[in-house]
Structures are given as C-alpha cells and as structure tokens.
C-alpha cells in the first residue's frame, strides 16, 4: 500500500470504486430543500454529459434517441449495470438522492466503461429528488420502464407521504410512461409491498401484469437478483414482495 499515486478509493484488483469510501446514511429526507442543479425541462437534460460516446457534441448527434428506462432510487446501481448489457441499445438513467451514493455509481460506470470498451455507454446516473423533479427530466410518454427497488419504507403513518410510490406520484409516473410501459416495484417489507400494490391497483392508469407475462419478462428476475439490496435479502433468507404493473389508457377518457 505504499504507492501513493494510486487512488485509494478504487480497488486495485477490480478497478471498481470501493464502497467503503462511499458510505452514506440509508435514509434521506425527500421533503428537504436540497441544492443541486435541476434541468429546466427535459430538453435541457445534457445527453452529451451523460452519454459522451453516443452524443459526442452537445445535443445534435442523435436527437431522436431519448432515455427510456429510469431506475428511481438506484442506490449503488446494481440493477442499472445488469440492464445496461441486457438492453445495450436503450438509454437508461439512475436517479438517487444521496450524493455520496451517486458519486459511487458515477465512478462505477466510468470504471466499467474503461474496463469494457464500447460497453456501458448507455447508462448514467444523476443526483436528484425524483419525487419533485421527474417532469424536468422526462417528457410525456418518454419512458418504457420505471424501477422502484427496495424503496425506503417510511413506516410511520405521518411519513407515508414520503413514500416514493403514492397515489399522487403515480399520476406523474403515468405521465412520463408510454402506454404499455411497465413499472416494477419490489420490497422486503411486507407492509410496504401491500401499500405499493394497493396504490397501483387503485390507480385508473395501471393494470397488473399476468403471471404468464411476469414469467416471460427477463427483467423480473433481475429485481431480486441484480441489486445489492436484493442480494442482501437473499443472503439473509428474507422474503420479497413484487408489484409489476402496466401503464394503460384509463377507461374514463381517451388519451
């Protein structure tokens, strides 16, 4: 360990950032007024910053290509990394409120890009409060998949409005999802699992996927296997609760 020129936060064996330098509190208050830049509108999102190889000059390269997957509360980014190679043609972004954790994912992606030339160019991460700023990042019907994996359970009833799945926030998720787009949720907290499922069931713009569709979807098994949180639950032999729903046109009005 005498070489001082080596960055100690990067593991020598894997070239990936070491998690112990990016420890953060497990919870963050989504109601607090944090300070980070927010794009004024989806057209102000800097794609050349997030995907430099795919958008070499600012904006112009392939303006038809937009972000299609959003991992809300991506944590240490396990799911994104798995999705990146499973859907190499799809742009995806992780959104995380804790800045240290976001820094980790940033480092992780850039290390992977260096180690695997040509790969992981379609994945990025941003520090933001998705509960407030989803409409600033994505336009109407832009997304085809949204992920909410192991979100903060906020047990106290007083804090239920801090939950990332809630009847009112689902309106915004329905807005940014295309018709037929899919919302994936999973938790190891039964109470929260019931809550997320009932929010989605009661929303007029979402319907549950059938058992058959769930089996056929390659993404579903990643929910519990790809994320750090999911692996931890599996190690401890815990149970998980999924709710996977599709964005539909409400029967009450034509879209």
């Amino acid at each position: 360990m005498s070489e001082t020129e080596v960055n100690p936060t990067i593991s020598k064996s894997t070239g990936l950032p070491r998690k112990r330098f990016y420890r953060a509190r497990a919870h963050s208050n989504p109601l607090s007024d944090s300070h980070f830049p927010v794009p004024i509108s989806p057209s102000h999102v800097d794609y050349s910053f997030h995907y430099p190889q795919l958008f070499p000059s600012s904006g112009q390269a392939d303006s038809s290509k937009r972000i299609q997957f959003a991992d809300v509360g991506c944590g240490f980014g396990g799911l994104l990394i798995s999705l990146s190679t499973l859907f190499p043609e799809t742009l995806m972004i992780g959104m995380e409120l804790r800045d240290k954790v976001t820094e980790y994912v940033k480092e992780r992606i850039s290390s992977l890009r260096v180690a695997n030339p040509g790969q992981y160019q379609n994945v990025s991460v941003v520090r933001t409060n998705s509960m407030k700023y989803i409409p600033n990042y994505f336009g109407k019907g832009q997304l085809s998949k949204m992920f909410f994996l192991f979100p903060d359970p906020h047990f106290k009833e007083k804090n239920h409005r801090r939950r990332v799945i809630s009847p009112f926030l689902l309106d915004e998720y329905a807005y940014v999802l295309e018709v037929g787009g899919i919302i994936y949720t999973i938790t190891d907290v039964e109470e929260l699992g019931d809550w997320m499922k009932s929010c989605l069931e009661n929303h007029p713009m979402f319907e549950a996927l059938t058992r058959k569709e769930l089996v056929a979807d390659p993404v579903v098994e990643l929910l519990s296997s790809a994320t750090e949180e999911g692996q931890k639950v599996a190690r401890n032999g815990g149970q998980t609760f999924q709710a996977v729903f599709r964005r539909i046109v409400p029967s009450d009005q034509p879209s």
Binding site: K140, F168, P250, Q253
Partner: protein
C-alpha cells in the same frame, strides 16, 4: 440571514377581484373582506349564518369571482374556504382545510370549487347540491411544493396549477373529479424561478385559449396548454427599463406579482415588484407572440400594485396595493385602490383620480378602510410584501460552510440533547 423576525414572513398582500360584469369589486386585506356593490352604489353587507365572529380569522390569501359572476370565493391562512353568492353576499358554503390555503378557483359551470393548500395538495368541493358544510376530496398534488395559482381553462377541459418549483401542471378534468384527476396533459416548463400567476387569453382564432404565466424570473410567458410548448417569453422587467441600471439590478428584485387580461385579452396588464404602475403587453393570438405596448405609471403618489383585477369587456383595470400588517405602523389592513381607464390599443390610458373613480368616495371608503395614509406607509407595505414573497417562494441558499453549522443546530437534534 435567517435571523430576521418571523413577522416579516407572515404578512399578506392586499388582493382585489372585479365582478365579470363590473357589478361589484372586492378587496381582501389581512383578515378583512370588503365588497362594494357598484350597481347599488353602496358597500355590500356580507352575511354568514354561522356563529363565527369574523368571516376569516387570519390573512386572506386568495379571492376570485367565478361561474359568470354568480359565485365568489375567499380563503387563506385560517384554513377556511368560504363560497359566497354574489346576489345576496351570503356565505353559502364553508369548507375546512387541514392546511393553510394558498389558491382558489371556481369551475366555469359553478359546480366545483378547487383550492390548494401549502403542502401542494389541490382539493375539490362539489357545490351541487348546495349545503353549508362540505368535505373536500383530494384532486391532485404537487409533491411538497407551495401552489401559487389555480385556474380552470376557458373550455373547462383542464385545471392548471402553478408552483414555487418553476412548474405549471395541466391536468385533464375528468367527468367525476371527486375521484381525483390522474391524467396529466402537460407540464409547462421554462420559468427559472417560482411561477406567481396564471391567466388565459382567448381569441377568435383560438377559442380554447392560450396560457400566460408570470414568474419570479421577471418574465411573462405564453404557452400551449395541450403540449406544454413555450410560444414566447417576454422579459417584462428588462423591457420596462427596470433592469437597465446595472444589468442585473438586485437579485429577485422584479418578480412578476400579477397578470390580468383587459379588453377580452387584447391587452395584458402586468404588475412587477418595485414598479410604480403597470406594464401593458399585447398578445398576438394568431402569431402567438407577446410584446410590450407601454408602461403606465402612477404619478403623484407611491403606488406599487400588489394585485390587479378587471372585468373582461371594459377597458378598466383595477389595482390595489397594501398589506395585512406593517411592523411599526399604526394602520393595520392598509389598502389603496386605483383605477386605470381607457385602456385600448389606440388610446392613451388614464389613471383615474379619486373623484372620477367608479363608485367615487364611497367606494374608496369601503375598500380602503382608513381615509388617507401617507405615501411612505404604502412604499413600506410594498417592500414588506416583496420580502414576504421572496421568503415564501424562493429557496434559501446557504454557503457550504454555513450549511455544516446549520446541520449541527438542527431542531430534531436539539430535542434529543
């Protein structure tokens, strides 16, 4: 920086609303609601069958006429929404809110009243069948943001809500709004500060109307509500010469406080912080552009309007300035009303003297309360309103070193210690 007294934050601007046929004019200042019946030429006497001593017990934050002038709503910090019949000026419904109310709107058919609370929730009340006490149902929500303005689109398809997080949400109004409005039509994004006010302009070429919004970024913008697309931006403070002194002037000095369409939307009056008068914009509905027509100054006294009102067909603009209370001033509920007449493309607008104002002395006595107060009080009032607005709607920025020390004295830690 945050050691300023809390009192500063709590003051509310004086508000004005004009009946669509100019039958009456209402002014709200502090907890007082004052209505002058122009048709009868006398103050309207408001009645409420409940036993309450006062109609409102805290600052009124929002008033408006609706349903072609049949209804009037008032609401504010006392967490009550009152719906009035403008025929009898009797309170027909009182609605209790869990939180303070920041904006209200009446649906075009008069069947629903919507109001927004300070936590970003918009509630809806069904007025049919009429009854004294109504329970509101939640309609939609802006996540933890203060909603500054609510508006129904002229065609009744949408409800629009503007907030301090720079955004305007356009939501489809469903057939049964009591179950919530879940389908978002668009977001109008482009402002770089809080959105303070909304208004619609209609024209023969576009009966569904174009949306106007004013903001803390000193601009008025024109939008397509269907797509959320920005048609035009008018840098009103810059055009009015308020910013030319040193390029930027002081930060947040010239927020747009109110916009009001005059002459069926041919012209738009804009009130800006620190401007003694108003700016008139013309909106070209077919070209979808905004441009400054002229600045109308109020001379002879210090008058920075805090709110504007107009009935659509007349060329008259009603303005009020005032504040609920002023520290160190003996006049609570300070208000001053002025009227600009002959607003037209061709003509030169005239700021009416107190003798020529519709309703005359009597109207002024009713709406202003106290007879005459010196200029400085009104300037101080405008300044207090400006400070309060900034405190309420602009995120406080702390330098990083300051942030660490603030974390150390967090309230929740104090309790444990």
């Amino acid at each position: 920086m945050d050691s300023e007294p809390k009192k500063d934050v709590e003051v509310a601007p004086a508000l004005i609303a004009v009946h669509p046929d100019q039958c009456s004019v209402a002014v709200a200042v502090g907890q007082h609601l004052r209505v002058f019946d122009l048709a009868a030429g006398d103050a309207a006497s408001l009645t409420d069958d409940s036993d309450a001593v006062a109609f409102h017990t805290d600052n009124i934050r929002a008033i408006c006429f609706g349903a072609k002038g049949k209804l009037f709503v008032s609401a504010g910090d006392d967490k009550t929404v009152k719906v009035w019949s403008t025929q009898s000026w009797r309170c027909i419904t009182t609605v209790s809110s869990e939180k303070r109310v920041s904006a209200v709107a009446i649906s075009n058919d008069g069947n629903f009243v919507c109001f927004a609370d300070k936590f970003g929730l918009v509630w809806i009340v069904d007025l049919d069948p009429p009854s004294r006490d109504k329970k509101p149902s939640p309609l939609l929500s802006h996540y933890c943001s203060i909603i500054t303005s609510l508006e129904f689109s002229p065609d009744g398809r949408f409800i629009l809500s503007a907030d301090r997080d720079f955004k305007i949400r356009v939501t489809n109004l469903p057939n049964k709004p009591l179950n919530g409005a879940h389908q978002i039509q668009s977001f109008c994004l482009g402002h770089s500060e809080f959105v303070s006010c909304l208004a619609f302009v209609q024209g023969q070429e576009c009966p569904e109307g174009l949306l106007l919004s004013g903001s803390g970024d000193s601009t008025v913008r024109l939008w397509n509500v269907d797509s959320g697309a920005l048609f035009d931006t008018c840098e009103v403070a810059l055009k009015a010469g308020l910013l030319e002194d040193n390029g930027k002037a002081e930060e947040h000095g010239h927020a747009v406080t109110d916009i009001c369409t005059v002459l069926d939307g041919l012209l738009v009056a804009v009130a800006i912080q620190s401007l003694q008068g108003i700016i008139l914009l013309s909106c070209n509905v077919s070209e979808k552009t905004l441009s400054v027509t002229k600045v109308v100054s109020v001379v002879g006294e210090a008058f920075v309007p805090t709110c504007l009102g107009s009935s659509p067909s007349t060329g008259k603009l009603w303005m009020v300035t005032g504040v609920s209370s002023l520290p160190g001033c003996s006049y609570p509920a300070l208000a001053r009303v002025r009227v600009i007449s002959d607003i037209d493309i061709e003509q030169e607008p005239v700021v009416l003297g107190d003798d020529n104002i519709p309703g005359g002395e009597k109207l002024l006595e009713t709406l202003q309360g106290t007879a005459s107060v010196d200029d400085n009080a009104f300037l101080a009032a405008a300044e207090a309103v400006k400070t309060a607005m900034c405190h309420l709607l602009i995120k406080k920025q702390y330098p990083s070193e300051n942030r660490e020390s603030r974390k150390k004295c967090r309230n929740d830690r104090k309790l444990k210690g």
